[in-house]
């Protein structure tokens, strides 16, 4: 009997290979050989969003979307990193930040992140609990809340990150209609076209997970991104070899990666 569950050996092998690649780049980064990561224009746009809000004297609307107990969790955690970044910048620049947790389960974490960011920047008095607004756990009740908030308060910028679905386009179009700058991010493939085409700037797919490392600039975090690139090359090699062998009628290699 195998130690590893049946049908999961290939997944474990790939996970170990990717983790080894990441560990190797982390080790190199710690030795001083930091991998270069390309500029994430969305982070610059987030800075512009905050600056615009300060100049216009209007709020920034930030929302994290996704559960913490499902497959969405990585996207939610990634959005928290950006929230901390935005909150600290907002505290520094005296911007009016309004935060909307998509689900009730996010309220404690998001409240704590914003509060701590204000304290870290030396402006605890700027934190107001009423700026953490919860609308509903229900998809379109939340969308209605976001659309209403955008229409009433005319925020200068709207930033929404996480595992978004149909509500993303409602919020995005409201932002466009009311002239707000928008940065949206998701790894949900069904929403990628709307996010990429409609938002001022976007964090799509892997960018959402890389943004935390990009912002922190810590060698270990940046190393995980460089390791991801090696993992990508492994994937390309596997796909290339698999396609060639399958074209030649050899199926066993492709079958190795069946789930």
């Amino acid at each position: 009997m195998s130690i590893v569950a049946a049908g999961k050996v290939n997944q474990l092998a790939l996970l170990l290979a990717f983790s080894a690649a990441i560990a190797f780049v982390i080790y190199s980064a710690l030795k001083g050989k930091m991998p270069e990561i390309r500029r994430l224009s969305a982070v610059d746009t987030i800075d512009q969003c905050i600056g615009r809000a300060v100049e216009m004297g209007r709020p920034i609307l930030y929302s994290s979307v996704g559960y913490l107990t499902t497959i969405d969790a990585p996207q939610t955690i990634a959005s928290f990193t950006v929230l901390e970044y935005v909150a600290r910048k907002a505290a520094k620049m005296n911007a009016d930040l309004r935060v909307v947790p998509r689900y009730a389960v996010l309220i404690p974490s998001m409240t704590d992140i914003v509060k701590s960011a204000y304290i870290a920047e030396g402006h605890p008095e700027m934190f107001k609990s009423e700026k953490i607004m919860f609308f509903s756990d229900t998809q379109f009740a939340y969308a209605t809340g976001m659309m209403g908030e955008i229409a009433r308060e005319r925020p200068a910028s709207v930033i929404v990150l996480g595992a978004q679905s149909g509500e993303a386009l409602c919020t995005l179009e409201s932002a466009v209609i009311h002239g707000a700058m928008s940065v949206f991010g998701t790894a949900n493939t069904h929403q990628l076209p709307w996010v990429a085409l409609t938002a001022t700037d976007s964090l799509i797919g892997e960018e959402l997970f890389a943004v935390g490392a990009y912002i922190s600039k810590e060698p270990i975090s940046v190393g995980t991104i460089g390791g991801g690139d090696i993992a990508r090359f492994i994937c390309i090699a596997i796909i290339g070899v698999g396609a060639l062998l399958a074209t030649a009628g050899v199926r066993w290699f492709a079958d190795l990666f069946k789930i």
Partner: protein
């Protein structure tokens, strides 16, 4: 609260649980599986408790606006009254089956949710209209591919030319699918990288002030 309790303990718990769940996924030992089930149940229970927090936040914010007679305050009052009605009727026996609750749910809530959902059709149209302006080479490609896909899905496409559905189907099945799969692979690798950072304790955005001065 000390920094140790605030950041180090959650980091350790998060890293340990991430590692445990990973081992539990790959190694089918009954005791590990049982532990994994317990952890998932804890997550569901904690998530359920936070619904109370959501209600508290909602009531607190609405009451604040009502008290100071803020803009549109009657709507906030109306919202609170409706929330109370739904909670009370929902808790009346038989729980969530009381006829008033069901009537409100089916005839008000569901209809309003459907109405909001239907708005998406108009938003898709306006978003597509903007996306289809061929201002750059990339947007021109989107426009051309979009036209073929739309005509493929609409009956008129095949009537104009039998070649149109062939091209539209090819666009959907080859470049579109390849692009989507590339993004899915990228997302998977990104999640592995995030998982490694979490296990090593370097993903700290969720720990309130933990990224070590991300903002500059």
């Amino acid at each position: 609260m000390s920094s140790f309790v605030r950041t180090q303990v959650p980091l350790f718990v998060g890293a340990a649980l991430t590692f445990y769940m990973l081992v539990e996924f790959f190694i089918p030992v009954p005791i590990l599986t049982q532990g994994g089930v317990e952890i998932r149940t804890w997550g569901v229970i904690i998530a359920a408790f936070t619904m109370g927090l959501g209600v508290t936040t909602l009531v607190d914010n609405n009451l604040r606006i009502i008290r100071r007679r803020g803009r549109n305050w009657p709507y906030y009052l109306y919202s609170l009254i409706l929330m109370c009605v739904m909670i009370v009727t929902g808790l009346m026996p038989p729980m969530t089956k009381h006829f008033v609750f069901l009537w409100l749910y089916n005839n008000a809530f569901s209809r309003l949710a459907q109405a909001m959902y239907s708005i998406l059709a108009f938003f898709i149209t306006t978003a597509t209209f903007r996306a289809f302006r061929a201002t750059t080479f990339a947007s021109a490609c989107v426009l051309v591919a979009g036209i073929f896909v739309i005509l493929t899905l609409a009956p008129i496409g095949a009537a104009i030319s039998p070649v149109i559905p062939v091209i539209g189907t090819w666009v959907q099945n080859v470049p579109n699918l390849a692009g989507m799969r590339a993004i899915v692979i990228g997302v998977g690798i990104g999640i592995v990288a995030l998982g490694v950072r979490t296990i090593l304790g370097y993903e700290r955005g969720h720990l309130a002030g933990g990224t070590g001065g991300g903002a500059t």
